[in-house]
Point group: C2
Chain length 189, copies 2
């Protein structure tokens, strides 16, 4: 099978799943339903997605790769917060067409606790990347307190911006992310 066919099927599976989840509720949809909706066997479904939860999170890993390269592209002289801000704005940019899907995804992440939990696990990769980047810019070890706290805090801020964005139907994501980073840079003291 060509990899094109593969990603095509994955997309179809994903779209069908998102539809079913939002209509019937996450828990009321079984994996058999998802497989049937995507026209594949149950066993095959699990070859496309490791978990029922992961169907919701789809593109998150690609985004991680994007984050890493975006961070690498920012000159060393820029401070970690600004670097992270730039990278995040780049990674979180979405075309207007994708907004409804993005809102669905994030709604599920916020609504279904298990999915949110799974998202947290996925974001750990982001945190590692951010800690490594910040450590390099500050000239310290990634395991030290400052980069560790920084990495977690940055992801948390982004997710906070997501939450607010979701609650406001007409809001733009970008200014919220910018504002969240401003708060972070300024400090809460």
């Amino acid at each position: 099978m060509t990899s094109a066919t593969r990603t095509l099927r994955a997309r179809r599976l994903e779209a069908a799943a998102l539809e079913l989840f939002t209509v019937r509720g996450f828990d009321a949809v079984t994996v058999d339903d998802l497989a049937a909706a995507g026209g594949v066997g149950r066993r095959t479904f699990f070859r496309y997605f490791p978990t029922k939860l992961d169907v919701v999170l789809g593109q998150l890993d690609d985004a991680l790769a994007g984050l890493v390269s975006a961070l690498a592209a920012v000159p060393d002289t820029v401070d970690p917060t600004s670097a992270a801000r730039r990278a995040f704005l780049q990674v979180n940019a979405y075309s207007p067409d994708d907004e409804p899907v993005l809102r669905r995804r994030l709604t599920l992440i916020e609504t279904v606790p298990e999915v949110g939990a799974r998202a947290s696990v996925r974001y750990e990769g982001w945190e590692r990347a951010l800690a490594a980047d910040a450590a390099a810019r500050w000239g310290c070890a990634p395991g030290e307190l400052r980069p560790q706290v920084f990495a977690r805090v940055v992801v948390a801020a982004m997710r906070g911006a997501f939450t607010v964005w979701l609650a406001a139907p007409d809001a733009e994501l970008e200014p919220l992310v910018v504002a969240a980073f401003d708060d972070l840079a300024r400090g809460f003291g």
Copy 2:
């Protein structure tokens, strides 16, 4: 059954579970094992803990109650960050006897992704409490960006401190929490 007996059993179950988890690994221990180790039936185990995951997290909800009351005890005039710092120091205080158990818990939280995910879900209560408190102090709505970001960021900072503490066998937790809050208050800009 008296509630004393109940919590006693819960403790025994918890202790046995923590032991088994650290020795054999989380996944290699079944709920039947846990129930047997605690001298109860499998069905009863699930009356004490909603989930296998939750055995690890035990006291976290009590801590939430402690956080809420600690926050309420801080005068209105204190800014949110300082208030949160005070509350966290109070809630995270542990007697030296408890340290080994605490380390085990946190190790499992960091090591086993599912457990970490579950912890994130549990911390959402903390975030709601923090957002409400911060909003009250700032005189804004809890749903606004600033309190939302603040709440998540504070919990993230604390968890960052936990991570660093875990990695350093001889470290004290308290100064790490203080340092994390200092970073937060000062800002990362």
